[in-house]
């Protein structure tokens, strides 16, 4: 009797794996579908500038699926850490416009994991209201004259 791993798998209709290179067992069809969706979201982003996101939490993925996804997407040029309520990790993948975003709670648990399709993930940009507030704070600082810049954010 064949074991599951011995059953050859061929993924059709994707660029993820050329036919005939199907040695990697245990893959569900999920990765292929995900990559296809990413491709269409990227095309949409290119033509309409509309960002999008895919929630990885809601997708059932085996460890193998995940490894395959990471292998295909790879590492891009940008890696950013956000230290706000919790720590977030934003990294561009080898596919420009596809960002791998992980949010962690203050306790360090993974609370959300997304693939964002955008020029820059919205969370990275500074917000107008915060910019305005910061400008005000900086101005106050200059007027007060004696405080260290490091204290600006201490409200």
């Amino acid at each position: 009797m064949s074991r599951l791993a011995q059953i050859p798998i061929r993924i059709e209709g994707t660029t993820a794996k050329p036919a005939g290179q199907a040695a990697c067992g245990g893959l569900g069809g999920g990765v292929a579908a995900l990559l296809a969706e990413l491709a269409s979201l990227l095309e949409r982003l290119a033509s309409t500038q509309l960002p999008a996101a895919i929630d990885l939490h809601s997708l059932p993925m085996s460890a193998l699926d995940r490894a395959e996804l990471e292998r295909v997407l790879g590492e891009g040029e940008v890696r950013a850490t956000i230290q706000a309520q919790g720590r977030s990790m934003v990294r561009e993948t080898r596919i420009s416009g596809v960002w791998w975003v992980e949010h962690r709670s203050a306790r360090g648990e993974l609370t959300a994991e997304l693939l964002e399709v955008a020029q820059v993930p919205a969370i990275l940009a500074s917000a107008p209201d915060e910019i305005a507030a910061a400008a005000g704070a900086l101005r106050d600082h200059l007027e007060a004259g004696a405080r260290a810049p490091g204290e600006i954010d201490e409200r």
Binding site: A84, H103, A112
Partner: protein, 369 residues
Amino acid sequence: MSAEHDGLTVGEMLLKHGISRRGFIQYCTAVASAMALPPWMGPAMAEQLRASPRPSVIYLSFQECTGCLESLTRSFAPTIEDLIFNTISLDYNDTLMAAAGEAAESARTTAMMGSFGKYVLVVDGSIPTGAGGAYCAAGGRSAVETLREAAKGAAAIVCVGTCAAFGGIPFADPNPTSAWPVSAIVQDKPIINVSGCPPIPEVMTGTLLQFFGTGQVPDLDEHRRPKAFFGNTIHDRCYRRPFYDQGKFAKSFDDEGARNGWCLFELGCKGPTTYNACATVKWNGGVSFPIQSGHGCIGCSEPGFWDKGSFYSALSAPAWGKAGEVAPRQVLELVGGAAVVGAALGAASAGVSRVRQRQLEQHNDEKGG
């Protein structure tokens, strides 16, 4: 509570409490992910909320134990849940607010008038209707009256805790105060039940946030609970589930199975019939939940949980049954009595048959010789 924030947007208030936009996006994204909302909803909710004036919440406590409020406020650190709920939006809560007496009551009426049709009414506790409502009254007004009045201007009602949602312990047999859940009193407003005794704080604030952020009542189950949190049973998500599937059960709280962390089904765990997020969100900042601490689920987020037999009787067992114990005396007496009655009926039936046989035979002897 409300005066210091008048005129500010949510974003401004969050900043005042040291929560940046990015921090809020992180939080909203996590909530959206937990509630299985579309992934773009998290940042969208964050942006919308940050730009809107602070929402108004009126929190009414009726026949309750304050456990729900304790659950909400007993966080280890000032979390966003805590802030959004207690600080940013709460206009009236007779336990938390500093004001008392006339001042407190006027805060409530002010909030009600000020955001009529827009505020969210949070109710905690069941509403007693017996004795003309006298079992629970504040400022000379019964709970029923207060609820009806406050419900008029509410955009939605969030029932926090099993008492408000399903009647809870006051509603349990014999319900001496004729207590009812909110849904029995108010029929013309959207009601969202966040049940549990108490509910998980993340579930309460997550539900509120989703409502504020989208203006929509979330998807609800047949008990009007948000499916996002109440869509699965504890059993379905329990880390001890593999033991259930392997047929490995703790038979008592101090046996080998219990020490090995086996399934607590036979000790009365109600996980299989209880819908809640305890097994995933957990309690006390994700530290643990009852089953993880070695005790079966008691099913506190389900209607009538108090009246469903012993907490220690397995779900598949008779309601009176407890693991490793003989059926209680009254059941044995009932069953034994039934057997005695049955035997008596059988004896009577056999007696009748014997008499009929004798009659037939005599008849036979007379006729046939």
